[in-house]
């Protein structure tokens, strides 16, 4: 029987693979005068950009299909790969459809890349978005709302619509719809991983990078409807949570290799920005919706490497997630030279060890072409978990790097 979901995934995959941003160009042609605004990982509040009549476009570098010709000459060998492929995309004209770029505060690489962008593309709008590390609404919240208003103001200065409360409330409502649909997708994946593979979920989420929330929600609903018609049977895989890939993305084939090695990735942080807020953004009666956006981040922003954990135990969130999705173990997959992920990892590993949750780790680069070592390692990990059960499996497996 033919797979009812195949054509939709093909469509989504084509969007993900098109680093020349054909979908963005088409959107701009349909919306004359409107802006398209790129944003780097990990989190930029997309409803704010949508509310100015602009299209937010998540940029995740060039992946493994882009030849790096000029990008390497801008970065030393000990810096991760995503900035070089992003510069390559920019210099190659592939991001010309973007009128501007937002560089959120995730690490010093993205921060400095923002400064480079200003020097390399002086005619484009470039914003650094300082996400607060103080989570008091009168302190960090006040600063953050001033950041959000500044960006909206600057976009208006470039021809975007002036931000107004109704438009932002509408954009928040559309974002919430998307969020609910993403949760439904996650629920399918957790309950019946065979129905929606991690590679498919990846494509489904990432396709939303180049479209407004409403259109993405429609796509996700189509996918949900189609995968429900699938008649595949469960296979005996181990259930894992994958962490560390919140910025530079692993090659698609690497995710597939993990699946082939017997791992059902039931939760990940691949496009963390889309799920940064736990639950919906809920403006209170009479509340300025910019405040609501800010409050959502302060109160319900997900624990991640780029967010200071002020109250909770480091790693507590990961342990809770492992339990919530009934995972058997954790795979740490960090980009080489990714300071946030790699400095976080020992603390998260310690938390997993305290909770008796097995884990393994490897490093990758977005253009890695060899997956054999990782596949063998993931296979050994999944065998150990299957054989001994999560409680009996060796808690820490050796690290591989490709």
């Amino acid at each position: 029987m033919t797979d009812p979901a195949a054509p939709i995934f093909e469509r989504a995959r084509a969007l993900v693979d098109d680093y020349t941003l054909g979908a963005v160009k088409a959107w701009k042609a349909a919306h004359p005068g409107a802006l398209a605004v790129g944003h780097m990982p990990v989190y930029t509040p997309r409803p704010l950009i949508e509310a100015t009549g602009s299209l937010p476009v998540a940029v995740f570098g060039g992946g493994d299909s882009l030849d790096i010709i000029r990008g390497d000459s801008y970065f030393q060998s000990y810096i991760c790969h995503i900035p070089r492929s992003t510069v390559e995309l920019g210099l190659g004209g592939h991001l010309d459809a973007l009128d501007g770029m937002v560089f959120p505060s995730i690490c010093d690489v993205i921060r400095n890349l923002g400064g480079m962008w200003k020097m390399l593309f002086p005619q484009k709008y470039v914003a650094y978005l300082d996400l607060p590390q103080n989570f008091d609404k009168d302190v960090g919240g006040r600063f953050y709302t001033s950041e959000l208003r500044r960006i909206a103001r600057e976009l208006a200065g470039r021809g975007a619509r002036t931000l107004d409360a109704d438009a932002l409330l509408g954009a928040i409502a559309r974002e919430n719809e998307r969020r609910v649909t993403l949760e439904q997708l996650d629920a399918v994946r957790r309950a019946e991983p065979w129905r929606l593979r991690a590679t498919e979920a990846y494509v489904a989420v990432r396709a939303g990078s180049v479209m407004p929330a409403e259109e993405h929600t429609r796509l996700l609903r189509e996918i949900l409807a189609a995968v429900k018609l699938r008649t595949a049977r469960p296979v005996d895989n181990v259930r894992v949570v994958l962490v560390g890939s919140f910025c530079e993305q692993p090659p698609f084939e690497l995710i597939r290799a993990l699946e082939k090695a017997g791992c059902d990735i039931v939760e990940d942080d691949f496009q963390l920005g889309m799920r940064m807020i736990d639950g919906p953004i809920e403006p209170c009666a009479g509340e300025d919706p910019v405040e609501a956006l800010s409050r959502a981040f302060l109160e319900r922003g997900r624990a991640s490497a780029s967010r200071y954990i002020d109250r909770n135990e480091k790693g507590a969130d990961l342990v809770a997630r492992v339990h919530a999705c009934a995972a058997d173990g954790v795979i740490f997959a960090a980009a080489s030279f990714c300071d946030p992920a790699l400095l976080d990892q020992p603390m998260l590993e310690a938390a997993l060890e305290r909770a008796g949750i097995p884990h393994t780790s490897f490093k990758f680069a977005e253009n890695t072409g060899q997956f054999q070592v990782i596949r063998e390692q993931a296979g050994a990990f999944s065998d150990a978990v299957k054989l001994w059960g999560p409680a009996g499996a060796p808690v820490a497996a050796q690290e591989a790097s490709v």
Binding site: S105, P132, L343
Partner: protein, 432 residues
């Protein structure tokens, strides 16, 4: 001993004594009931810490001292053995390794555990991870001071009030809880006023490098000059005395038309350079000698501005204690966007009439290093002065390739020499 050597020794000896006294005080801290706060150099709140009579410990300084004392390789290995990636900042690993090896400080005595971790999050993302890691090790409170970045080289009112509010609602209350005392604003203002005096003298020292020959080396020598003001002594009488003496010594050298002293004696100035990036600490003297032996003097550097851009006009202002602390934190060099960093370097190249500029790109530090290759190109375009590029690390000796670095430095200086011989004008730029 000649008169000038005697006077040079005065400031050096004072600094040595200040450091020894500080570590001595730290070793007695617990028995004397003094509270100890660990914090970072950029955006340090030394005057506030002093106003609470707390003693600061700066893990970055411990790491660089470990590098200079050839201990860092072992500490880094220790940290990597316990699961820290080889890819990340070696200051962090050096500190973690030192902690696991007994936390013996630079003077050979055990460092006291912190009563407070003051995470001054200025200009470097890794700081946050570093103190999250230390938080796992110590049972003490952590207080975060998030200092926004200056992407456009401008401090806005929103940035300033964000920092001030955190000082008011988080940092000061945390210090009050730890010490059991209320903040004494007059005492804070008194420290800030002492800071200002020392800052005036430090700026005079930096600006002395406009003379030919420059009486100072503003990088290799400069890292010693910034010792007191970057670390535990800003806002103290000792620091005021140190910078007064240093200024007098430097002015005396100007009067005698003397160049700086290097590890192997006085330097006869042949090339004037500006340097971007931190130095290597594991082979510091060797590194310095690669320059001093060739007559290359660094007239200005950016590393010596990570603890404050005093030469660009900033002074601590006792009449606005919290605003001034906020502006200080916001203004540190690595908290500036890349275009501002390029502008500052170009200004140094012009104002100090440099023949060239050199980037020492360190593997550890993304905050400094990301974008330096573009900065180099932009600076060449802006100034017409040729740039050089070398790579090393702060405290990981595995990344100090002596022969390679020496070759690069020499070919760069030879290129400058050839350029001088040709009387090359600013438009003939040679890339490294």
């Amino acid at each position: 001993m000649s008169e000038h050597t005697e006077s040079k020794d005065r400031s050096q000896l004072r600094q040595k004594r200040m450091i020894a006294d500080h570590f001595e005080r730290l070793s007695r801290a617990k028995e004397e009931g003094k509270k100890v706060v660990y914090t970072f150099v950029p955006g340090n709140l030394t005057e506030l810490i002093g106003a609470f009579d707390m003693l600061p410990v700066l893990p970055e300084i411990n790491a660089l001292q470990s590098g200079m004392r050839k201990k860092s390789a072992g500490y880094i290995a220790e940290a990597e053995k316990s699961g820290h990636s080889e890819d990340v900042c070696t200051y962090v690993k050096c500190d973690i390794g030192m902690l696991r090896s007994g936390n013996i400080g630079p003077t050979g005595t055990k460092l006291p555990e912190p009563d407070l971790l003051l995470l001054s999050y200025t200009g470097c993302f890794t700081f946050m991870k570093w103190f999250e890691l230390l938080k796992q090790e110590y049972k003490c409170p952590v207080v975060m001071l998030h200092v926004p970045y200056q992407p456009d080289g401008v401090i806005t009112d929103e940035m300033r009030s964000y920092v001030v509010e955190q000082l008011r609602t988080e940092v000061i209350p945390a210090m009050e809880r730890v010490t059991g005392t209320r903040v004494d604003v007059d005492k804070l203002a008194a420290h800030l006023s002492l800071s200002k005096q020392a800052e005036d003298d430090l700026v005079a020292v930096w600006e002395s490098a406009r003379h030919r020959p420059s009486p100072i080396d503003g990088y290799f020598g400069g890292v010693y000059y910034v010792g007191p003001i970057f670390s535990s002594f800003r806002g103290s009488h000792d620091a005021v005395m140190y910078y007064r003496e240093l200024r007098e010594e430097v002015e005396a050298r100007v009067a005698r038309k003397e160049g700086p002293m290097a590890p192997d004696g006085p330097v006869k100035e042949k090339y004037r350079l500006v340097v971007e990036g931190p130095p290597n600490w594991t082979n510091f003297n060797e590194f310095w000698q690669m320059f001093s032996r060739e007559g290359a003097v660094v007239v200005s550097s950016t590393y010596t501005r990570v603890g404050g851009l005093y030469d660009q006009g900033f002074r601590h202002d006792p009449s606005h204690p919290l605003d001034t602390l906020a502006d200080y934190c916001l203004g540190c060099y690595t908290n500036l966007g890349l275009p501002s960093r390029v502008d500052l370097l170009a200004k140094y190249i012009r104002e100090y009439e440099a023949d060239g500029f050199l980037v020492n790109s360190v593997k550890s530090c993304n905050s400094f290093s990301v974008g330096q290759l573009l900065m180099l190109r932009k600076l060449e375009e802006k100034t017409g002065v040729p740039g050089g590029f070398i790579e090393s690390d702060l405290v990981d000796p595995r990344y100090f390739g002596k022969a390679n670095i020496e070759n690069r430095v020499q070919s760069y200086l030879q290129m400058l020499e050839a350029r001088k011989a040709r009387g090359t004008s600013a438009d003939a730029v040679v890339s490294p």
